[in-house]
Amino acid sequence: MAKTLPPFQSFLDEHRGPVLSFLRSMVGPDDADDCFQETFIAAMRAYDRLDGQHPRAWVMTIARRKAIDHHRARKRRPVPSDKLPEQPTHDRTIADRDSGLWDSVRALPPKQRAAVSMRYAADLGYAEIAAALDCSEDAARRSVHEGLKRLRSEGAGEEART
């Protein structure tokens, strides 16, 4: 049994906000709650293994995995065969509550998507993002930057300012 772990309730209270924001940006508000539950149940199950790691990065790693599982589950559902393969799978149900800009984020390659979400939705520092993505801080910076470049080249965000 772990020696110095805080009560799981404190852990949950401390990370609930950023984790929920991150998941909303990854899978949309409608499915974020389910992923959130699964994230913290998995975190609780593995809680003993948190020892020594950065807690926020650790729970974000789990959240990211849950978001990926969610995307896979969605892809396995039957889709019309004439659907354009190049077209990113936009989820109609999630489009209404946030702007088109974040829809574009959801269409980024997986690592960029996660990095951009962690940076601008969950407000993580690059050290935390690096730990969560299991890469160097430079690589984390690069993923965010690549993501931004791609968004910009697609013209995203230009009309997002009000």
């Binding site: 049994m1 772990a2 020696k3 110095t4 772990l5 805080p6 009560p7 799981f8 309730q9 404190s10 949950l12 209270d13 609930r16 906000g17 929920l20 924001s21 909303r24 940006s25 949309g28 508000p29 974020a32 709650d33 959130f36 539950q37 913290f40 149940i41 609780m44 199950r45 809680y47 003993d48 509550r97 946030d98 702007s99 800009l101 974040w102 984020v105 951009v116 601008y120 939705a121 931004l148 470049k149 968004l151 910009r152 995203a156 965000g157 997002a160 300012r161 009000t162």
Partner: protein, 209 residues
Amino acid sequence: MTDRDLKTLEEALRQSAPLADDDEAVGAAAAVAGRADDAGVLDVAYGTLDTPLGKMLVATTGRGLVRIGLPNADVDQVIERVAREVSPRVLELPRRTDVARREIEEYFGGRRKEFDLPIDWSMVHGDFARRLLRGLPRVRYGETISYSEAARRAGSPRAHRAAGNALASNPLAIVVPCHRVIRSGGDLGGYGGGPDMKEELLRMEGFLD
């Protein structure tokens, strides 16, 4: 991409991020405990209740009541201790503490004189302390015994000091009635919840006028 483009885009991302506000995060977090319990990963559940002497905390495991927090105790500190000594998988889930909370309410309402609750003794450390505390429910509502009598009943008549320590560290106050152990001279002695609370409980039980 120029720096200005970058700043504009960053700004736009921050402003339009689908952030969860506090209430939404609290709501999502509150649902975790029930799900964790259903999934069998919750080791300790806790809840609070209001009593005439203040707010109390009740924590239970699958085996039974494991910890009471008296009104003068800091809830966070009590929970931290439970996490350390029992399991860190602790969440607030009042429904798992319903039976204990109801019995304590009945006690304070004068409708209950003894408790009928499964107990998890894992926060009581040492054989002597366990023997001593396990025997306490035999001291009835409205009665008291002395520290040395408590020590004698636990099998070590001369260990009244150790008895004092065991009583002071009782994690199950009220339900395991350490307030019914007083000094032989009639002085009430110490109490984890403070001397006033001990006096209040003994008055409520009719031992004091």
